[in-house]
Amino acid sequence: MGKLPKKKNLADKVRKTKTSTQIKNNPFEVKINRKKFDILGRKSKHDVGLPGVSRSKAINKRKETLLKEYKTKDKANKFIDRRFGEYDTKMDPEEKILQRFSMERQRTQDKKNMYNLNEEEELTHYGQSLSEMEKLNDMVDSDDDADEKGMLSAELTASHFGGGGLLRRKTHGETDNGGNQRAKSRQELIEELILKSKQEKRERQNQKEESQVLTEKLDQDWKSIQGLLAHKNAPKADRHEEEDKPKLDEYDMMVRELGFEMKAQPSEKMKTPEEVAMEERERLQKLEADRLRRMTGDVREDCAKTQAHMSADDLNDGFVLDGDDKPTLAYQDGKWNINEEGAKIEGDDEEEEGGEGESGEEESDGEEEEGSDEDSYSDLDSEQESEGGEEEAEEEEKDEAPATKSQLSEEERKAQAEAAKAELPYTFKAPESYSDLKGLLQGHPADHQCVILARTQKCNHPSLAVGNKLKLQKLFGFLLEYVGELASRSPPELSTIDKMIPQLYGLCQLFPEAASKAMQMTLVDSAHSMEEVLEVKGRAAFPQLDMLIYLKITALLFPTSDFRHPVTTPALLYISQALTKCPVMSLEDVTSGLVLCCLAVEYVSFSKRFCPELINFLLGVLHLAVQDKTSPGYSVVPPFRQNGKVSDLLVLSDPESSQTWSKKTLPLSATQTLKLTTDLDTDHYRLSAVATCMDLLKRCSSLYRELASYSHVFQPIATLLSKHLPIKTYPAALQDLHGEILAAISGSRTSRPLLVFEKKKPIPFKLFTPKIVEVLDYGKRRGNTKEEREKERLNHKYKKEFKGALREIRKDTRFLAREKLNEVMGRDAERKRKVKELFGSLATQEGEWKALKRRKNSRH
């Protein structure tokens, strides 16, 4: 510490003695701040520093402020001498006085007029006073002419702007004028300009007026001549000029009407049969593709949904401006794709379409009748007349028709039925209840029933009246019920049902919702009753023939291959329930079961879905045909039992009967009652059942070929077929079938690749448009928004300031400490010096005294 002030003193000394340039050039004084990277084009304030200089500056400053404060620390008052140059000895007294005077002036002046420019001074431009020029400007501006359309005259522009041109012009003008008016003042020049432009304006106005007058005159002339011309061209029209006017209007109206009327557009050309076929094929292909899509099910649908379009500007915050669910307006199958909201429109369209579809066939069979019975029934004629017109009258009459019909006696009814189609009325009231429908259809042969239904449909077409839609929707339910009743009659009237299928199909196409609801209700009711029986007994009887028919109709009306369908899925569940819960007690049950199996195969044949109950049941049925039921290599699944009183149901009583057997289809009515009189018949029936079963097995085996556990699914069946079934006693056809199935099963691929998870699709990066941020200051951290940046900047500044202040405080304390030390050392040195002095004086005293003494002694 002792060294430091000395050194400083030295530095101060150096600084004081040397000029600033000298110091800067002295390499020992300069400290260069080394830069890590040289950046072109950047200037740095701090590349060179003069530590000595800055330090001494800082020390001086402290000496002036801090030290003084320190010195006057405990002192309360002080005098401040503000006299100018009082202690400055270098200054001359006169100069001092001058300065003091100027300071006085300044104080009085204050700072009021700091920005006042000198008023006396005039600003000029080309020697002209600017203030004057401003005045002129205003004048020119006010003279702006609208007619000029914004174009300024060349002179004007020249006078305002381009100085050069003006200069030149001036020189020209000077020469022209002959030099006497050498310097036309700017004011004059502009006045001249104004005059000129005003004149021009007036002239233009005059011209305009003149031309207008001329035009008017010309018009009048033309009118007088026009009369002559028209007279020449059409003398009659001219004569009745005023009368003609309304006629002309009519004509105009016609013209306008024609103009607004749709222009004849080229109609679609007649299609060749090939084209029609092609279109039909395309339509079917489209429908087929649709079916396949539905078959794969919701899984794909969901995927499709999730892969919604994502905008590049999407922030992935889940915000959607407006949902995708908004239906887009599009055409689908030639119809507007508007859902429930537009049901009316859609319905109408559909109905019309449907109507057209039916009318074709109906008309064809309607027409042939018309010829024959138009004359014979006068009352019908009236009906026909009213058909197009009022609905009410028609309905009243229709009311009567079934009523009278039901009242007819049995014989009459028979007679009527015999009287063939001729007797059928043309209009029918839509049945309000099931009994209405029954009344309507009863007593007619199947064909007539169809015609009645078709006509009912046509008469009550939804497009004809408001309530018709509802009526026809109900009709589907009634018809379904009627079909059920037909099926449950004994013997079942299956051929009638067969004829009604097109009607059902047509109605279903018209009202898919109502049809599906009716079908669902039928299924649920039956399933419910079966469930109730199951809960009580644990097993149930096989569904009746009507249910079987319903199931078949379901398959005809609705697509069976859909992954999930509101009707076919429950229907298949119903089949499954029946196949698992209904024990086989008789040959009728076997037949019912086989029908159900056939239906199950039909249901899954397109989609190739796996139905375990089907295989179980077929296995069980075959098990019924096995004679020796001990030690099987397979196990049957309930409802079948390994052993039991009915487990020999299909075992042939006499093996010989197989020789007289020939393949024929089983009757559907056998599900209800089977009349087999002889043992031979029974055996034949058994063989037919086994044949059906084997046929189904063959189909199943080809359906499920692709399944992973194909071999395990069919393994019990293979065991049964190869080891237990008495195939030797069966006819040759069956033996062939047997061989085929076995070959198919044994020829299947048993080995499979081991399971692994599906490979995850790599999730693609989201590709967004880059966010561009303007980078203004490189190399510094910055926030995103302006506020953040500002905050960052202030933070940084604050930190810097804080550090600086801290450093300054440290330096201050250091400085003070040094000063204190100096003080102390100074005091010590002083004391030492004084002590030394004292000692010295004492020593001299002593010396003097001794010398005196010595001298005394020597004297002695």
């Binding site: 299928i501 859909d562 992954f563 329930q577 397109f606 796996f610 992973a708 081991l754 399971l755």
Partner: protein, 532 residues
């Protein structure tokens, strides 16, 4: 009071009967008898009515008898102690009062016999009234004992009467289930229950010894009906409802101690189960075993023999025995060797079709919930279940698929069953041996669950979706199968129907013209069946 006299009276009364309705007649006679000893002989008429053909009369007579003898018992007009023979009564040198008491006691005994016979009457109403009357008498006898004993030493309870009633109830020819359920009202009384239990035990032992242990379905059904109607109290403090209140030393009475009750109950069941039972009875017993028998037995481990025997029977009985075994293993520290092996062999195709499916899978889920099971075992279970799933109905599939997935979740080492990346392209036959009984030898761990892959093509959309789960790594969270256990096909169907489709119903686009026309593919039905 000779028999001849009785006849006279009855013949006389018959004429009166024509005028009066039997009910009024009986009631008036009963009142007369009660009022004075003079009319004592009218009791014969009342008893006559008891044997009447008409149901109404019998019921009235029973009511009358009840009233009559209850009053007499209450009054003490009944001979107490050893009863001398009726023939000796005339000659004996007893006082008139004493004779009257003896006479009435004899009539009472006769009435009891008649009532007991009526318990096996064909009319239920008579049965019921007879039973009620008998129990009423039992209550009265308990209060006013007919035995001549020192009642400070003994507890008065009409044991003989109860025993006789029980004997009648446990008929060997007739199903008495209905009457027994009526009897349950009395079984709620602690003392009745106690004595009924001991008398049933004696009865079972006697009857079964007589038939040398052969199966007697009706008798055993009756016994079971009676046994299953016994509701044991769970705490000593619940023993409050008594038919007969004992004045002295009530606390020491055996019927008032829960421990004694339990012991009697246990001996009763063990005695019943000792003999061979029809298989339906086995099922019934096993169904109630775990919740109404085992907790009320003082030493449940005694049931081990029965349960292990039942577990070895196979089929549904084994499934049911599981529940009882589980209680023993879980709460009574039973160590059952090869338990899992046995459980494994229980897995058969029928497991998905039986009534007790929910119960079985609930238990199987419990047994397999331990994470300390060896991997091979769990893999064997998973593989076997999935193999069996190939024959299961959709409702069962919806339950068993999550079940299998849960197994794999619990035992991550089993994940190779659905994910074996080391041999991704390898093709192999299924090494799993279905016939192997021992889960450790069946090579399940080397196999894959191809069956689930097959079920992905199942016709029911929910099943297919559930099977799809194995295509991706399984989630950590286990599926809750408790709600799926009871799922039936009908419920599934209803669920499908509730499944609302927002879109329109898709329709078949091939126009249908005939009933047997093929849909989707070939008309299989049309090929095999004709419209006849």
């Amino acid at each position: 009071m000779a028999t001849s006299k009785r006849c006279n009276v009855s013949s006389e009364n018959l004429t009166v009967n024509d005028v009066k309705t039997p009910k009024i007649d009986i009631n008036s006679k009963v009142d007369l008898i009660i009022q004075s000893k003079k009319h004592a002989n009218d009791v014969f008429d009342v008893l006559e009515y008891l044997q009447s053909e008409k149901e109404k009369n019998v019921v009235c007579a029973i009511n009358g008898c009840t009233k009559l003898f209850s009053t007499l018992l209450e009054r003490g007009d009944m001979y107490v102690g050893q009863l001398p023979k009726e023939e000796l009564l005339i000659g004996g040198d007893r006082s008139a009062d004493e004779k009257y008491c003896m006479f009435m006691r004899h009539r009472y005994n006769g009435c009891l016999e008649l009532l007991l016979e009526h318990i096996s009457h064909e009319s239920y109403q008579i049965k019921e009234s007879a039973l009620c009357a008998l129990m009423q008498f039992a209550a009265m006898e308990g209060k006013f004992p007919l035995q001549d004993m020192d009642w400070s030493e003994h507890y008065s309870f009409p044991r003989e009467l109860i025993q006789a009633v029980v004997e009648r109830l446990l008929s060997q020819e007739e199903d008495m289930a209905l009457l027994i359920s009526r009897f349950q009202e009395y079984l709620d009384m602690e003392d009745v229950r106690y004595y009924v239990m001991s008398s049933v035990r004696a009865n079972v032992g006697r009857v079964m010894d007589k038939t040398k242990g052969a199966v007697m379905p009706i008798y055993q059904n009756n016994v079971f009906a009676l046994l299953s109607n016994i509701n044991m109290p769970s705490q000593e403090s619940e023993l409050t409802n008594y038919l007969v209140k004992q004045e002295a030393k009530h606390e020491d009475w055996k019927a008032a101690k829960l421990k004694e009750h339990k012991r009697a109950f246990e001996r009763l069941w063990l005695g019943f189960l000792k003999y061979k039972l029809p298989s339906s009875m086995y099922k019934k017993v096993l169904v109630i075993l775990h919740d109404s028998i085992l907790p009320n037995i003082s030493n449940p481990t005694l049931m081990i023999d029965f349960l292990t025997a039942a577990y070895d029977v196979g089929g549904a009985i084994s499934l049911l025995a599981l529940n009882g075994l589980f209680v023993l293993i879980h709460q009574h520290n039973l160590d059952y060797p090869d338990f899992y092996k046995k459980l494994y062999s229980l897995l058969e195709p029928s497991v998905f079709h039986v009534k007790y499916r929910a119960r079985f899978f609930h238990l199987a889920n419990l047994f397999l919930s331990s994470t300390h099971l060896p991997v091979y075992l769990v893999a064997a279970f998973a593989k076997r279940l999935s193999r069996l799933a190939l024959t299961a109905p959709p409702a069962a599939l919806l339950m068993v698929l999550p079940f299998i997935c849960n197994l794999i979740r619990r035992h991550p080492a089993c994940r190779v069953l659905i994910h074996r990346p080391s041999a991704a392209d390898e093709v192999c036959d299924d090494p799993y041996l279905m016939e192997e009984e021992d889960p450790s030898q069946c090579h399940a761990l080397e196999s894959s669950l191809w069956e689930l892959q097959t079920l992905q093509k199942h016709y029911h959309p929910d099943v297919a979706k559930a099977a799809m789960a194995i295509n991706k790594p399984l989630s950590q969270q286990e599926d809750d199968i408790s709600e799926l256990l009871e799922l039936s096909t009908y419920e599934l169907m209803e669920r499908d129907l509730k499944h609302k489709q927002s879109k329109t119903v898709p329709l078949e686009f091939d126009p249908a013209t005939q009933l047997l026309q093929g849909s989707g593919g070939v008309g299989v039905l049309g090929l095999n069946f004709s419209l006849e």
